[in-house]
């Protein structure tokens, strides 16, 4: 081990010299604020080079988890490793912050500097920053670069925040609800930026309460609610989406009595639902039944549970975690 290390040039990058197996490793993390248990035994890992999303409603404990990883908050229990270091240990602070970038939930930028000056100032804090012009172009603020920050719109300030998160050329980027308050165009723009960063090798850990954001962006998702992770997987497999039964639905045909429906068909509010593990066969039988009767299956759909269905089921139909917390105490 020692021989191996001393064989390298002395000033070789810290990053390369001891790159840990995973970018982020969290095990049994707990944090309470007085009576409120914000994080109750959270465990997950983030692999190098992936986009990992913590998806959950307001009050789920996303920001608390992220801020512990960023070194802003002390944890009550559990193990945390960020790029191989413990963010709770002050001795690691500077070296760690040289390698991570962050976009906090609340926008905070000094009002009187221009966009360009703000980015150039932060660039000077890092040992190997990205090019200021390149970053300005990436977040699409070239037209505003000589404006004072206080004259920017909310969305532009958020993009400036994103620029500050990436100016240090981080190997790991934390994004806390990066697109909250964006219009749809701006969101797609932000997603594009995040994807490009990932493709260039940056590991990204983001939080969101938007299902489409997790679906669009994340390589892996963990659903968090009430301070606990209730499901984890890729956006297409999470919550058993891939193995869940297919759902076939159609409108109850006019003049068709419930008793006449094929076996397994359950009438609901205006739509008849058939759940099946064998969609090809079931669909065949169903259309066969309809053709023979001469009825038209209007509003026919075949689908799997959407991420939204899974999310709503997992997070108790979207009930805010905080009210759940209180009612169970």
């Amino acid at each position: 081990m020692r021989a191996h290390l001393t064989a390298r040039p002395a000033d070789l990058t810290v990053r390369a010299a001891r790159k840990p197996a995973v970018a982020v490793d969290v095990a049994g993390l707990r944090k309470s604020y007085g009576e409120v248990q914000a994080v109750r035994g959270v465990s997950f890992t983030v692999e190098h080079g992936e986009i990992f999303a913590l998806l959950g409603p307001n009050g789920a404990g996303k920001t608390t988890t992220l801020e512990i990883l960023e070194g802003f908050r002390a944890r009550d229990a559990g193990q945390v490793s960020v790029l191989g270091a413990d963010p709770g240990d002050r001795a690691n602070g500077r070296a760690l912050r040289e390698q991570i970038g962050l976009v906090l939930q609340d926008i905070a930028v000094e009002p009187y500097l221009t966009v360009r000056e703000t980015i150039a100032r932060n660039a000077g804090y890092y040992p190997e920053p990205r090019d200021v012009d390149e970053v300005i172009a990436l977040v699409d603020l070239a037209g505003q670069q000589r404006q004072k920050v206080r004259n920017l719109s909310g969305g532009q300030k958020r993009r400036l925040d994103l620029a500050l998160g990436m100016i240090g050329n981080p190997s790991l980027l934390f994004l806390d609800e990066p697109t909250t308050g964006f219009d749809p165009n701006a969101r797609h723009g932000a997603w594009e930026i995040v994807r490009n960063l990932r493709d260039a090798g940056t590991t990204i850990l983001l939080t969101t309460h938007y299902m489409d954001e997790a679906q669009e962006l994340a390589d892996r998702v963990a659903v968090i609610t009430g301070g606990q992770i209730v499901a984890e997987g890729t956006p297409s497999t999470i919550g058993g989406r891939d193995t869940a039964r297919t759902r076939i639905r159609f409108a109850l045909p006019d003049g068709c009595a419930v008793a006449e429906l094929p076996p397994g068909a359950v009438p609901g509010d205006g739509l008849v639902t058939v759940q099946t593990q064998e969609p090809t066969k079931t669909l065949h039988q169903l259309t066969d039944w309809a053709l023979r009767r001469g009825t038209v299956l209007t509003r026919l759909t075949v689908d799997r549970p959407s991420l939204e269905d899974v999310y709503l089921r997992l997070t108790d139909h979207g009930a805010p975690a905080s009210t759940m917390d209180r009612s169970t105490r």
Binding site: P9, D11, L12, T13, V14, R15, A16, Y33, E70, F72, R73, A74, R94, A95, R97, E98, L102, L104, D106, I107, A108, V109, E110, P111, Y112, L113, E117, R121, N122, G124, Y125, Y126, P127, E128, K148, L164, G168
Partner: protein, 260 residues
């Protein structure tokens, strides 16, 4: 192996210089605040000059002319404003709106951030004092001769009151409370320390002599007007207060707007 992949830690002095430059830039970019920072002490000493410019030396001012007395005390109070008041208020505001937290998220070391602020406060203090001495000279106050003693008292005073400003910012929870709390501490202190009216009560002077403002006044009055040099006793008291402020600041300073 290309140079670009080597991580060379930016020299800390270069980093400090970078921070000082940008701290200055954000100050000067807010012209209103920059204007009032310098106009206030000039207006003060001009008013005192107009009111007391003709008052001859007498025992009420310890054998000095009124303006000989007021040039150093107004200089001292301008340093208090630039260091203690400004820093306590600015830091509370920056904490409240999350700017401090954002700074903490970068690799900029805390000491560099604070030295950047200290450098700014010293710059403002020195400028204020120079303006006050200039206006005083226009009213016929003779220029001081002990410049080294003045410089030492100024820098030590600025540093100590900066430390006290950071300490008060550490103890205040929200930024709305900052200006009233800062004034509430400062106003009685300035008043009993003889800044605006010489105090001839031995008891009061003994009390205020142990608090931070009067020692600073005295440390400036000597070399400014009485042709004495270093006032080691008062400089020592000032240093002790600065150390106490720094101790509280180091122990209690928070970057995060939301307490745990």
């Amino acid at each position: 192996m290309s140079i670009a992949t080597h991580r060379v830690r930016r020299h800390d002095l270069a980093l400090l210089w970078h921070q000082i430059r940008y701290e200055q830039l954000s100050f000067w970019r807010n012209p209103q605040s920059a204007f009032f920072t310098f106009v206030f002490p000039v207006v003060m000493i001009t008013i005192f000059g107009a009111l007391f410019g003709r008052v001859k030396a007498g025992s009420y001012f310890y054998g000095l002319s009124a303006l000989q007395y007021y040039v150093p005390t107004i200089a001292a109070v301008s340093v208090l404003g630039a260091c203690y008041s400004q820093l306590a208020i600015v830091l509370s505001m920056r904490r409240q709106n999350g700017i401090l937290k954002r700074v903490r998220g970068t690799p900029l070391p805390a000491w560099a951030y604070f030295v950047g602020l200290l450098a700014h406060c010293v710059m403002v203090s020195v400028t204020d004092v120079a303006l006050i001495v200039g206006v005083g000279a226009a009213f016929g106050v003779p220029l001081p001769t002990h410049w080294t003693a003045i410089a030492v008292a100024l820098v030590l005073g600025a540093a100590s009151f900066c430390a006290l400003g950071v300490a008060v910012a550490s103890l205040i929870r929200n930024s709305e409370a900052a200006p009233p709390v800062v004034q509430l501490i400062l106003f009685p202190l300035v008043f009993i320390s003889g800044t605006y009216l010489p105090i001839h009560s031995a008891m009061l002077n003994r009390i205020s002599g142990a608090l931070p403002v009067r020692p600073f006044n005295e440390a400036l009055l000597g070399p400014f007007a009485q042709h004495t040099g270093f006032d080691w006793h008062n400089l020592g008291v000032l240093l002790a207060w600065g150390a106490a402020g720094a101790f509280v600041a180091v122990r209690r300073f928070r970057w995060n707007p939301r307490p745990e």
